[in-house]
C-alpha cells in the first residue's frame, strides 16, 4: 500500500480504512492520498482533479470562482478523487482527524465504483499521464502556432465538447452500409446483333445514361450515411482542419469521453460513496468523540436543497431502499399484486439478499436505469419528491405536484443523455454547398437560442462553411443558420 508522504497517524488510518473497506467486500484500485493545502486543492479542483492540464483560461475562470467562494467561506472542498489506476485522492491539511476519516472512507467508496461500474470500464485508467501528455502536445502546438491562436481554437473545440455520443463506447461499431445491396435503376441495353450494337446502343448515349444514374444515386446517398451523434468525430474526419487543429479537437474529444461516465453515474457514484462512508464510520471508524462531528458533516452533505435533487441524498436513500427490499423480499409479482396494506408493511420473507443486490446494482446500472428500475411510489413519498415549474404569473418556481409518474418522467428526462440535448449531424453537404446541418432531437425542452447562436459561431470556425441547426423553438420547427457573418432563422 502506498502511504508515502502521509504523516504516520494518517498512514495508520489509511491502513485501517483499507482493512475495513475490504472487509465489506469493496474492491478498489490502489489509492494514493496526498496532503494538500487549501490553495493547492483549489488549483487541483480547477483542473478537474488533475495536477497537469493544458493551458487555457477556463481553468483560470474555474479557479477564480472556487478560490473566491473558498476564501469567503461559502464552500470548502472536502474530497477530490480521480478515476485512475492508481486512484489519486487529496486530503486537506489542517482538517479535523474525523474529517480525514470521513474523506478516506468516502474515497474508497468512489474507488470501488470506478473500478467496478460497467460504465467506467472503457475509460482510460492512466488518464493522469494522458492529460499530462495532452498538456505537452498543446504546448508544442502553441510554440509552433502561437498561444493565442491555439487557445482561440480550443475555445471552439470546448464549446462543442458536449456533442459526443456518450453511449458510443458501449455499443458495437455500426456495420458499414457497403454490404447492403445496391438497388436502383440500371442502364437499359436493347438487344442487338453485334454489327448493329453501336447503332442501337450507341456508346456515348450509354455512357451518358450511366453518368446520369450515378449522379442520381449520389444525390440520394446521404452524407453522412446515418445521422452521426458523435459530432466531434465527424468534424475531425471531414472538416478542413490543419493537423494541429485536428489534434486539439481529438484531445478535447478524448477528455470529454473520459469525463462522460461521471455525468452518467453522478447519483449512483455519490450515493455509493456516501452509503459506504456512513457504514464504515458508524460501524468501525468513529470514536465516541467523533460522532457529533461526523453527524454534522454527513447531514450537511445529505441536505435537501429544494429545487435541486441532491445526488448524495437520492443515491444513498435508493441504495438503502434497495437493500431493504431485497433483504425482505419486497419485490416481484407476488409483492406487487398484494393489495393488503398491512401485509405489505409487514412483508418480510427473510430473503437477506440486500447487500448482494446493491453490489450487483453498482456493477451494471447507470443513473437512468437506476432511477428507472428502482424508484417506487412509496420511496417517492418518503423522500418528498415533487415536480415544479416556473409560474410566469408569480415570477417564481412553484411546486406542481407529487405524482409518482410525473416525478419519475421528469427525473429521467433530466438524466437522459447526461442532461445534454441530443444533437446529431444529419447533413454534411446541405444544398450541395458543403454546409453542415445538425439536428436537435427535440424532446419537450427547447434549446437556449441565444447560446445556440453563439455556439454556432464556434462551429463555423471549425467547419468554415455555413452551419445550420434544426430544432423546435416554442413549438415551431426552426432552422437556425450562421454563415460566418450573420445569424438567420427560418421556419421549416
Amino acid at each position: 500500500m502506498h502511504t508515502l508522504g502521509l504523516p504516520p497517524e494518517l498512514a495508520d488510518l489509511q491502513r485501517r480504512v483499507v482493512g475495513v473497506a475490504s472487509g465489506y467486500g469493496l474492491d478498489f484500485f490502489e489509492t494514493v492520498f496526498e496532503m494538500v493545502t487549501t490553495e493547492q486543492i483549489n488549483t487541483i479542483a480547477a483542473y478537474d482533479g488533475f495536477p497537469v492540464r493544458y493551458r487555457h483560461w477556463r481553468f483560470g475562470m474555474a479557479y477564480d470562482r472556487i478560490e473566491k467562494s473558498s476564501s469567503w467561506g461559502l464552500s470548502k472542498i472536502y474530497e477530490l478523487v480521480i478515476n485512475n489506476d492508481p486512484c489519486y485522492a487529496y486530503l486537506l491539511k489542517g482538517n479535523l482527524f474525523v474529517d480525514q476519516k470521513l474523506v478516506m472512507a468516502h474515497v474508497y467508496g468512489h474507488c470501488d465504483f470506478f473500478k467496478n461500474n460497467a460504465w467506467f470500464a472503457p475509460t482510460n485508467r492512466h488518464m493522469v499521464d494522458e492529460l499530462a501528455s495532452h498538456a505537452v502536445r498543446m504546448e508544442s502546438h502553441a510554440r509552433n502556432h502561437g498561444q493565442d491562436k491555439v487557445e482561440e481554437f480550443l475555445d471552439s473545440c470546448l464549446s462543442l465538447e458536449n456533442l459526443i455520443d456518450i453511449y458510443a463506447p458501449y455499443t458495437p461499431p455500426k456495420r458499414r452500409s457497403d454490404d447492403e445491396e445496391e438497388t436502383g435503376r440500371e442502364v437499359v441495353r436493347f438487344k442487338a446483333k453485334p454489327y448493329m450494337e453501336s447503332f442501337i446502343n450507341p456508346p456515348e448515349v450509354m455512357a451518358e445514361e450511366q453518368k446520369e444514374i450515378e449522379a442520381e444515386r449520389d444525390a440520394r446517398q446521404p452524407f453522412p450515411e446515418r445521422p452521426e451523434r458523435d459530432v466531434m468525430k465527424f468534424l475531425m474526419e471531414t472538416a478542413p482542419l490543419r493537423p494541429w487543429q485536428k489534434d486539439c479537437l481529438a484531445m478535447v474529444r478524448e477528455e470529454a469521453y473520459y469525463f462522460a461516465p461521471q455525468r452518467l453515474t453522478k447519483i449512483m457514484n455519490e450515493g455509493w460513496a456516501s452509503y459506504w462512508h456512513s457504514k464504515m464510520m458508524t460501524e468501525h471508524l468513529c470514536d465516541t468523540s467523533d460522532i457529533l462531528d461526523f453527524a454534522e458533516r454527513h447531514a450537511g452533505a445529505m441536505a435537501m436543497s429544494g429545487e435541486q435533487i441532491n445526488p448524495y441524498k437520492l443515491g444513498i436513500e435508493l441504495y438503502r431502499n434497495i437493500e431493504e427490499r431485497w433483504d425482505k423480499g419486497r419485490f416481484g409479482k407476488e409483492y406487487d399484486d398484494c393489495r393488503d396494506y398491512d401485509a405489505k408493511q409487514r412483508w418480510d420473507t427473510g430473503l437477506g439478499e440486500g447487500r448482494k443486490k446493491i453490489f450487483d446494482v453498482r456493477h451494471t446500472y447507470n443513473d437512468v436505469t437506476f432511477v428507472d428500475t428502482f424508484l417506487t411510489p412509496s420511496f417517492c413519498d418518503e423522500q418528498k419528491l415533487f415536480t415544479y415549474a416556473f409560474n410566469p404569473q408569480t415570477g417564481r418556481k412553484e411546486v406542481t405536484g407529487r405524482d409518482f409518474g410525473e416525478v419519475k418522467a421528469r427525473l429521467l428526462q433530466q438524466l437522459a443523455n447526461g442532461g445534454q440535448p441530443i444533437i446529431e449531424v444529419t447533413n454534411g453537404n446541405f444544398g450541395n454547398r458543403g454546409e453542415l446541418v445538425l439536428t436537435h432531437r427535440h424532446d419537450e425542452l427547447d434549446l437556449d437560442a441565444n447560446m445556440a447562436a453563439q455556439t454556432m459561431q464556434h462551429l463555423h470556425r471549425v467547419w468554415t462553411r455555413p452551419v445550420h441547426i434544426e430544432t423546435i423553438l416554442e413549438g415551431k420547427p426552426t432552422r437556425l443558420s450562421f454563415d460566418g457573418e450573420k445569424h438567420t432563422s427560418e421556419a421549416i
Binding site: 504523516p7 504516520p8 497517524e9 493547492q40 488549483t43 480547477a46 495536477p51 497537469v52 493551458r55 483560461w57 477556463r58 481553468f59 483560470g60 475562470m61 479557479y63 477564480d64 487557445e151 475555445d155 435537501m304 436543497s305 429544494g306 429545487e307 435541486q308 435533487i309 441532491n310 441524498k313 418528498k384 419528491l385 415533487f386 415536480t387 415544479y388 415549474a389 416556473f390 408569480t394 415570477g395 417564481r396 418556481k397 412553484e398 411546486v399 406542481t400 405536484g401 416525478v407 421528469r410 427525473l411 433530466q414 442532461g419 445534454q420 440535448p421 419537450e444 425542452l445 427547447d446 434549446l447 437556449d448 437560442a449 447560446m451 445556440a452 453563439q454 455556439t455 464556434h458 441547426i469
Partner: protein, 367 residues
C-alpha cells in the same frame, strides 16, 4: 503547479478586463454598478465570457425537487422571483465578476487614455510611517507573533524529543518569543480633496442628479487611484449653499432660485479652513444646469473663482448637465471669461451616454 494556474488565471482576468473595457461606455451609462459596490470592489456583469454550449433554455420545464410544500407553493429556497434555472446542473448565464476599484480605475485610465496626475509641484511633503516588516526577540505582548513563536517552540520541543507523532505538548519558553518589529519609512505625501458642488434648484431633475452621481463615482475612482489619501466634501446650493453628507448630496431635492456664488464662497471657506493648498491637491467640481439667478451673481462667481478658488486648486471643473429648464448660459459665461486659463475645464453632459466624454474632458489633462 501554482504557476500554471496563475497563468491561466491571469489570462482569464485579462479577458474580463478586455470585456469590461470594450463595454465601458455601456457600464458607465448604466449606473447599476455603483449600487453593487461593496467596500473596495464592484460587481460587473460580463456577458459571453463563459464558453457557449448547445444546451437547454432556462426556466421552461421546471424539474424535480425534494422537500415540503403543497402544489402552488413556492419551491423551498427559491425566494427571489424570476431567478434560477431549470434542470439539474444549469449554471448562471451571465457571469458576474468582481473587480477592485483600483483595477477599474486602471481600465478607465487605459480606455480614456487618461494621463497620470502630477501632483502640484511646489512642495514635496514627506511623512514618516511605520511598517511592520521584521521580527525581534523582545517587545510588548500585543505585538507577539504567535505563529512564529509557536513554530520556534515546536522546533525546540521536537529537537529535544518531547514532542512528536506519539504525543506531547508544545509550551513556549521566553526564549521562543518573537515580536513584530517596525521600520520607519519615509514616503512622499500627496493628499487630495474633491469638493463637489451641485445645483439642486428646481430645474435639476432626478435624471440630472443620476448623471452627477455616476460621474462623481468615476471621478472618485480615478482620483483615488492617483492619491494615497482622498477626501471628499459635498456642497449643495440653490439660492443658499450648505455642506451635506454624500447621501443627502445625491438624494436631496430642493426647489428655488440659483445663486452659484453662494456655493463658491462656501467652497472657498472650506478650503481656507481645512485644506491649505500647499499640502493638498484640491479639485472643486461643480455641476449645474447652467441657470444662474442674475448676471450680477455670475460676475461675482467669476470674480470669486479668479481671485480665490483657482489659485488654490489644481483644476476647477464645471459640468453642465442638460435639462429641459436650464438655459445653459453659465457655461458660456465661464468659457468666455476663462478662455485662456488652463485651470478651468468646462464640459457639457447631454445625457448618460455623454458621461464618459465628460470624464475625459475633466481628467484628460493630468492635473
Amino acid at each position: 503547479m501554482a504557476n500554471r494556474i496563475d497563468l491561466d488565471h491571469a489570462r482569464f482576468r485579462n479577458i474580463v478586463r478586455g470585456s469590461i473595457r470594450k463595454d465601458l461606455r455601456k457600464h458607465i451609462a448604466n449606473g447599476q454598478m455603483i449600487a453593487r459596490q461593496g467596500g473596495d470592489t464592484v460587481k460587473i456583469p460580463v456577458p459571453q465570457i463563459d464558453l457557449p454550449r448547445f444546451r437547454f433554455g432556462s426556466n421552461e420545464g421546471g424539474g424535480v425537487g425534494q422537500g415540503d410544500g403543497e402544489p402552488g407553493d413556492a419551491v423551498p429556497g427559491d425566494e427571489q422571483p424570476g431567478q434560477g434555472e431549470a434542470g439539474s446542473d444549469a449554471g448562471q448565464h451571465e457571469l458576474e465578476v468582481e473587480v477592485s476599484l483600483e483595477e477599474l480605475a486602471q481600465i478607465l485610465g487605459e480606455e480614456l487614455e487618461l494621463p497620470n496626475i502630477e501632483p502640484k509641484g511646489r512642495r514635496q511633503i514627506t511623512t514618516e510611517v511605520n511598517r511592520y516588516t521584521g521580527l525581534r526577540r523582545v517587545g510588548p505582548s500585543s505585538l507577539r507573533h504567535v505563529k512564529r513563536t509557536f513554530k520556534r517552540a515546536m522546533k525546540r520541543e521536537i529537537a529535544t524529543g518531547r514532542f512528536g507523532p506519539s504525543g506531547g505538548v508544545v509550551i513556549p519558553i521566553p526564549d521562543d518569543m518573537r515580536y513584530r518589529a517596525w521600520d520607519p519609512k519615509t514616503i512622499p505625501e500627496s493628499n487630495a480633496c474633491i469638493i463637489y458642488m451641485m445645483d439642486v434648484s428646481g430645474s435639476m431633475g432626478d435624471e440630472q442628479k443620476e448623471i452627477v452621481r455616476i460621474e462623481a463615482f468615476w471621478i472618485d475612482t480615478w482620483l483615488k487611484s492617483q492619491y494615497r489619501h482622498l477626501e471628499t466634501r459635498y456642497i449643495v446650493h440653490d439660492a443658499e449653499a450648505k455642506e451635506v453628507d454624500a447621501h443627502t448630496f445625491f438624494h436631496l431635492r430642493e426647489s428655488g432660485g440659483t445663486r452659484i456664488s453662494s456655493a463658491y464662497s462656501l467652497c472657498n471657506a472650506i478650503i481656507d479652513a481645512e485644506y491649505p493648498p500647499e499640502e493638498w491637491n484640491i479639485y472643486p467640481f461643480h455641476f449645474s444646469d447652467g441657470d444662474n439667478w442674475s448676471g450680477g451673481d455670475t460676475a461675482r462667481c467669476l470674480d470669486l473663482l479668479r481671485s480665490q478658488v483657482l489659485p488654490k486648486s489644481n483644476v476647477f471643473c464645471y459640468g453642465q448637465v442638460r435639462s429641459t429648464y436650464g438655459s445653459g448660459q453659465f457655461k458660456t459665461d465661464l468659457d468666455h471669461a476663462f478662455s485662456d486659463d488652463e485651470g478651468v475645464i468646462t464640459s457639457d453632459i447631454p445625457d448618460k451616454e455623454g458621461i464618459m466624454d465628460s470624464i475625459r474632458d475633466f481628467l484628460g489633462t493630468g492635473k
